[in-house]
């Protein structure tokens, strides 16, 4: 690491402590979406389109403010609008910016069979390398958040990159850059987690949301996009955010035990047949001895 050569561990002939020793650099990035301050302006949707070079295309009207029913292969950032009636009869408009969650334990990557079509960077970003994608769609099966989408023209799968191209140049993602209310934040995972917890605490104690909390699901070992929710006990209210997301067990079974069992069975089968041939040899016609009483 180039950064490591600027960190000093020991200094010769130096009295006192080593400046900067024990400094801990946090390389894990995180996007924080505070749903409680989102106004649903969709600036992030536009910024995402602009930065990633997509144009707006025809969509479906669903009697809602929502731009389309779910994210698309060329529309990676979508605010989900949900009307929610609270216990006291008042109405809330829940707005959640939906995009790739950049799981620490990504189901898309686990399911993908193509060499280097999906990579996970040390900073937590999970990125698709479309040049290596074969378009099988297994990532769609592996994802617990319904994020990867198949392009019928490219025959490849696309999703949010967390603006890896921007982040690698020291910039924040386009959606963060454009957010006018400051409901979107970007920084290290530790900082964002802290900020989110502070905000959740504020909501619980000062704003009358006793169930406010942070969404950083442990089922996928945490995500690099986290939410502050008014009601962290019911994330499904926010456009179907799963309560306990994890890689589907059938995908785990398929990529784990079944793979080992299958490999073993195939190799074992070939070895077994070779053994059979060496032990019993070929089957030849004319094996019936005379006078065995079975001749026709």
């Amino acid at each position: 690491m180039s950064q490591a050569s600027t960190e000093i561990i020991r200094i010769s002939g130096h009295a006192g402590t080593v400046p900067g020793a024990g400094l801990n650099r946090e390389f894990q990035v995180c996007k924080l979406v505070d749903t409680t301050t989102c106004i649903g302006c969709k600036a992030c949707e536009v910024a995402c389109l602009e930065w990633n070079g997509y144009t707006f295309s025809e969509t479906t009207f669903d009697n809602s403010y929502q731009t389309m029913p779910e994210t698309a292969w060329n529309y990676w950032n979508l605010i989900k609008f949900n009307e929610h009636e609270r216990d006291d009869g008042t109405m809330m408009l829940l707005m959640r910016k939906d995009q790739c969650m950049h799981c620490e334990d990504p189901g898309c990557l686990a399911a993908c069979p193509a060499d280097a079509a999906i990579v996970q960077y040390a900073n937590g970003i999970v990125d698709f390398q479309e040049a290596n994608c074969i378009g099988c769609g297994y990532c769609i099966t592996g994802c617990p958040f319904n994020i990867p989408k198949f392009s019928p023209t490219a025959h490849k799968v696309f999703k949010c990159t967390l603006c890896n191209d921007r982040v690698s140049q020291g910039l924040e993602p386009a959606c963060i850059k454009t957010c006018p209310t400051g409901c979107l934040h970007f920084g290290t995972k530790l900082e964002m987690k802290e900020l989110a917890e502070t905000r959740a605490q504020q909501l619980r104690t000062q704003s009358g949301f006793p169930d406010a909390g942070v969404y950083d699901p442990p089922g996928v070992s945490g995500t690099h996009v986290i939410y502050v929710l008014h009601d962290a006990k019911n994330p499904e209210l926010y456009g179907g955010l799963p309560k306990d997301p994890h890689i589907p067990w059938s995908v785990k079974l398929w990529k784990g035990p079944l793979k080992w069992l299958g490999d073993l069975a195939m190799v074992g089968g070939i070895v077994g047949l070779a053994w059979h041939y060496m032990r019993f040899g070929p089957k030849k016609e004319e094996q019936i001895k005379p006078d065995d009483g079975r001749r026709p």
């Binding site: 074969i134 099988c136 297994y138 099966t141 319904n146 069975a265 195939m266 089957k283």
Partner: protein, 224 residues
């Protein structure tokens, strides 16, 4: 193994040939065999990263992904035609049950201790029905995998089931395929050629498919 005395009753005619597979049956068999082999190669490429190079020898990952389902349909068509032609010959009867009990003799090449069998023995019938039902499952799960977004998010359990079913059943067919290739191309002399030119010797028919042989003899006598 009889090496000395020629044991066959019609020593003179022991190399006479009898037809076993029609031209259509053979052509269909090899169309199916090629289609299966293609699906096997590309399927193994998708199965394991250590076998992904198999996709490269047949044109690369995206090409393999594109053709695998179509060639799978071709195999299905070939198999359904086989079913139409052979399902009567493939019915399991009491003779097969007796043969199944004596199967260890077959495995140990002591074929003289086996009850006589018709056109296909119990092992071949098992193979046929194994492949037949496997292909129905592969077809159904394959359709789900083919168009990944055909089913909405609410029906995603179909995708979860399909990845497991497709891989598991494919493994079963690989087992059947290995045994089939081994027995017909390596183990049982005369079998492979019969699927090329369509004929077996009388001795072969008499040795391995006695009841079928008797039917042929009876038919040829009746025609005489």
């Amino acid at each position: 193994m009889s090496t000395g005395a020629v044991s066959h009753p019609d020593a003179a005619s022991r190399n006479d040939l009898v037809p076993r597979y029609t031209l259509a049956e053979r052509a269909n068999h090899w169309i199916g065999a090629l289609a299966y082999t293609y699906c096997l190669i590309t399927g193994l490429a998708f199965w394991s990263p250590y076998l992904f190079w198999l996709a490269l020898i047949v044109g690369g990952g995206p090409t393999a992904r594109f053709w695998h389902p179509w060639v799978g349909l071709l195999f299905t068509a070939s198999l359904f035609w086989t079913f139409k032609e052979w399902h009567r010959d493939m019915q399991v009867d009491d003779g097969d049950r007796a043969w199944a009990k004596a199967m260890p003799y077959y495995i140990e090449n002591e074929d003289d201790k086996l009850p006589p069998v018709g056109r296909f023995n119990f092992g071949q019938k098992l193979f046929f029905w194994g492949i037949f039902y496997s292909v129905i499952l592969l077809l159904l799960s394959g359709l789900v995998l083919w168009e990944t977004e055909l089913f909405s998010w609410n029906l995603r359990f179909l995708r979860y089931a399909a990845v497991l079913v497709h891989a598991s059943v494919a493994l079963i067919t690989i087992g059947l395929f290995l045994i089939h290739v081994y027995m017909s191309a390596i183990l049982e002399e005369g079998s492979f050629g019969s699927m090329i030119h369509g004929y077996v010797t009388r001795a072969w028919a008499w040795t391995f498919h006695r009841k079928w042989y008797d039917e042929i003899v009876a038919r040829s006598r009746a025609n005489r």
